[in-house]
Symmetry: C2
Subunit: 246 residues, 2 copies
Amino acid sequence: MNQTIEVMKNHRCIRNFLDKKIPDAIIDELVAVAQAAPNSINGQQISLVIVRDKEKKRRIAEIAGGQTWIAQAPLFVLFVADFYKAKLAADKVGRSLVIPESIEATIAVSIDAGICLQNVITAAESLDLGIVPIGGIRNDPAAMIELLNLPEYTFPINGLTIGYPADRSHKKPRMPMSAFRHDEAYDPAKLPGLIDEYDKLMQPYLKSVGRENEVNWSTNTMNYYSFVYFPKVYPTMKLQGFKNDK
Amino acid sequence: MNQTIEVMKNHRCIRNFLDKKIPDAIIDELVAVAQAAPNSINGQQISLVIVRDKEKKRRIAEIAGGQTWIAQAPLFVLFVADFYKAKLAADKVGRSLVIPESIEATIAVSIDAGICLQNVITAAESLDLGIVPIGGIRNDPAAMIELLNLPEYTFPINGLTIGYPADRSHKKPRMPMSAFRHDEAYDPAKLPGLIDEYDKLMQPYLKSVGRENEVNWSTNTMNYYSFVYFPKVYPTMKLQGFKNDK
């Protein structure tokens, strides 16, 4: 329908990057689109940490469970859930900062992080850069907090690795669109058949990329979701001031 | 730098819409870019509910605390945090769905919702549509669940109103960019001065849009953040299977 929509429809994650720096002017644009995105109540509760230092990227790769592409790519961006600025506002106007005690705060700031992140992704891909989002930093959030000096009422919510692609990976098939889209009301009855269909579709795809061991969508998803795969998030959030108990 | 980046940099929220339908082909494209966005572990834990029914939009406007533009605009999209599909996968492969008990699940799915949402926003704005995100549905999530028939392990995480703008609103000034961007490590020391600067900048802006009563950023933000403004989120999530206690 237009170039912008084509960029989004052609998205795929990249995990192999050229040894080539990203010009400062492009990084400035990526930051500008992140800041231009909408945010909840104009609280501006997202901050970015731009990381280009090799040693820091190597350490983040380790924190994220050995994701070597983080060290390989020229740029890592951390999206920080940031109520520290609101804490400064609270002190300035002499009121108490209560919102980080609530699950609503965690939801609102995580949505805002996703919104910012996706603007950076779309801008990067429109400039022929490749990206991969890094949720794996939540494997050890305390290590990220220490490494990047995050204050109270902040939390390292998600990362993004950006660079020039060394190769174009396959585009992963999604579920049939009718499993994603409901009209006027959610229709649970249609889903089991669509999931069966998708499980069958994923088998040849997984074979073509050498990952038959994942079996299909249902099996692979349950390899993650039958336990709490990042158990340090909850206690580390508490230490940072996010109680999540109301 | 290019048209896609210009669209994102020119974002503003619209709260006044023409009485003009959005063609089905455009709605299909908005759904397609939402589904093409990256998602955590390929769990595909977002679903959309497309709402065009007038009476339903009127009801959603009410649930969201009297946001009349929801009823006025031709299209409302609900972004659903959806582990119901994972529950079907769990039953299919004979394993237990544990992840919704954790705060990690709420974070990951909220980020994914923001990512999807922002693709829809960028696509809509690239087609000269106007949007406003609707976090206000979390004012009464149980009412949204009932209205749109959401099953267990799902939650109405955010809404989006879309239509043809009746007027172009002002672009709201953001904090100085250095309050948003940190390089190599977070620098808390620079923030108080930047917040003072922004508070001063917001006064003439608020006056120009007739909202002097908000005073400045610090005061307005604390009018929200000194209490839990959506207290029903936590108990309603629990009823839906999101325990948020580990």
